[in-house]
Symmetry: C2
Subunit: 417 residues, 2 copies
């Protein structure tokens, strides 16, 4: 007997047939004797409809009212799933964010969970009741509905798993796990059995859109073992009820991964733009003078590389932004030209970032060199490099993205089981 | 300066253009310096959609889950109206049933309001804030959402008006008031300026579908002056801001109606069926033996007439039910034949009930005789009659319904101003 939090996204509850399929997944777990809480998103398309209405009501609107409107979506899917479960003979009830309550801060529209009081849910687990929890929503300090921002149901699920001390948090999604790279680019990509939290954080933020970054952070802090698995699998397919090793990818503490690979996966992001400031005065505070105004303009800066200038007496700063933010970034920097004190401003869009990720590279030399040589052998020019303990990111020309992904996937042997 | 509760139904908030029209009605009142609470229904069609989903989830379902699902409709319209009002410069916020809270009993799906704590709303009126209240919903003793049953937003509005001691409750609807009869049947029907609560109760329950019966009962108990007026009027049309006499019909205490008409209106109901039990043993408890089983079967019995039998030694009982319930009623009665002890069971469907209503008839003789003679003159056969202090109901053959309505409307001079 274990305690499991199961999370189903919008496509998994898009209509009543799919909700019935979700209910069969839940029933499989309760039939196995587990205590279960299910977190659901709104039915696919509903949130977009509600959001569109708030925009039609007024382009600028009170985030508290936005939250009241948008949270209705999860309220509906939670109630419907509870009804379907009851019809299948499963003792279930729905819980809205304010009922549990899921306490959040006051940042309506993008609230953070502060605390979840799981005591009543735990008491009812003891009575054999399944909790069907509306994801994405909580109760702000103003006693009003607060939503966690888009994709927040993953975060709801992980936070709930931490609150009720669940043995596992299963994120059911439209893919069956986390892959060594995007299978649409590299057909030999393999599903990973286990990924360390730190690796998943890099994979998620780099474009492997399986899990929200915030939910992975939360899982790492609270050491919530999180399974990514497919909601479209047959609920009673062989092995689906295997508690220790269900089909999917386990995201867990690195200690739990006995055989660590040097490289776990290859991520990529398209539509990157590079901006370089040449011959900056090499003085304290110059970085703040550059990135402060960009941050104020809500521009998300990614790779940052600083190097000594060609002339040896000043410094060069290069960083990337999403291509769509390039023009805005350039005008922000031109406005701040005097405060920053640069000589030349250069930019280029249409680039791609390819990243090699793996906890094992901390203890292995030569991982970066292997990547550089492999790309050079294919004639792929490297525009910038950043490294962390578990990641090497390489900026290249956009059209070479697929070739680079396939090359790196192969050179680290990720296509071999 | 006065305090006004305004209520808008589903067709009045069916889309954002209509919600903007509602907001203009609200702004007219706040511009006049009034304190305003607005109660809204779900956008037209939404409640039906949500109800259909709960049925698709399971024909038999937990009313508490039904409530969680269905209450989402008003949550959305309340939030959207608050956003639109804010965009027009009106200080407004939405309130859900659990936030005020509107305390109800535990009869989920058809809950009754027990108490509304209006103190926080009143405090905010003082700060110039408009309360936009999700109608139809409250908070049950189980700390879960409870809905008041279909059409419950009228009740929400009247109960809220009583709780905040509003000077007036304006029910905006798709008709511009209460008429002497259905204008589709009698084009000379006039809009009534004032109707007493007791009269409105009879008019509402008899098929003039302007206001929910429960809301009129509540208005009568708490003496809430209630205006029925059109939501499709131009918000800034002449006279719309006339506090004492806005266009519409005032439902009020009879003391406020100086010139009482003998007859106020003619109501009708189609698709009635008549059931007669002949030669019943005339003993105590026979009525309970008949109507108990019908009530248990959720059959709504209307007119009840008891008379001595032809043979003089027993009694006959006649009553009406909706035509759709006739077969079910007959089988219930056949099952209970032994317990009831009747001789013959007769029935007839396709009948109509026409009712003459007026507080003034309490002090006027001959009102009933006038009706009987007028119908006889047109050759309309009377099948049953019931009377109360302020109402005469007459059961006739269905095809004569329109003729009877027009005849009675004319004979009491209701077509004359």
């Amino acid at each position: 007997m274990a305690r499991i939090v199961m999370k189903f996204g919008g496509t998994s509850v898009a209509d009543l047939d799919r909700i019935r399929n979700v209910a069969r997944h839940v029933k499989r777990e309760t039939d196995s004797g587990h205590e279960v809480a299910v977190v659901v998103s709104a039915m696919a398309g509903r949130t977009n409809e509600l959001v569109a209405w708030t925009r039609e009501a007024s382009p600028l609107h009170d985030a508290r009212e936005y939250d009241a409107v948008v949270a209705a979506g999860e309220q509906v899917s939670a109630g419907l799933l509870a009804i379907v479960l009851q019809a299948m003979g499963v003792n279930a009830r729905s819980w809205l964010g304010w009922q549990i309550p899921v306490h959040t801060d006051n940042a309506h529209g993008a609230a953070r969970i502060l605390e979840i009081d799981g005591s009543e849910l735990v008491r009812r687990f003891g009575e054999g009741q399944v909790a069907v929890v509306a994801g994405f929503q909580g109760l702000g300090p103003d006693n009003r509905v607060a939503t966690l921002g888009r994709g927040g149901s993953d975060t709801s699920a992980v936070a709930l798993a931490a609150a009720v001390k669940a043995d596992r948090c299963d994120i059911y999604t439209d893919v069956d796990g986390v892959y060594t790279t995007d299978p649409r680019i590299e057909p030999s990509a393999r599903r990973l059995g286990k990924v360390a939290f730190e690796e998943m954080l890099e994979l998620a933020s780099l474009g492997a859109k399986v899990l929200q970054v915030r939910s992975v952070e939360l899982a790492m802090v609270h050491k919530v073992r999180t399974f990514v698995r497919s909601s479209f699998s047959e609920p009673d397919a062989p092995g689906m009820d295997d508690f220790d090793n269900p089909p999917g990818t386990l995201i867990c503490d690195e200690d739990e991964i006995v055989e660590q690979e040097v490289v776990t996966g290859i991520a990529y992001a398209r539509d990157e733009a590079q901006i370089s400031l040449r011959r900056l005065a090499d003085r304290p505070g110059v970085s703040a003078a550059i990135f402060g105004p960009l941050s104020d303009a809500h521009i998300n800066v990614d790779m940052i590389v600083q190097n000594i200038s060609e002339d040896g007496s000043s410094t060069d700063m290069t960083f990337t932004v999403p291509s769509g933010d390039m023009e805005k970034s350039l005008s922000v920097l031109e406005e701040a030209r005097e405060a920053i004190g640069f000589d030349v401003l250069q930019s280029e869009s249409g680039l791609a970032k390819v990243s090699v990720i793996g906890i094992g590279m901390r203890s292995h030399a030569g991982v970066a060199a292997t990547a550089f040589k492999a790309l050079a052998d294919k004639g792929i020019n490297i525009k910038a490099i950043t490294t962390s303990e578990i990641k090497i990111s390489i900026l290249i020309d956009g059209p070479y993205a697929e070739l680079a992904v396939r090359t790196l996937h192969s050179v680290y042997g990720l296509d071999k089981t």
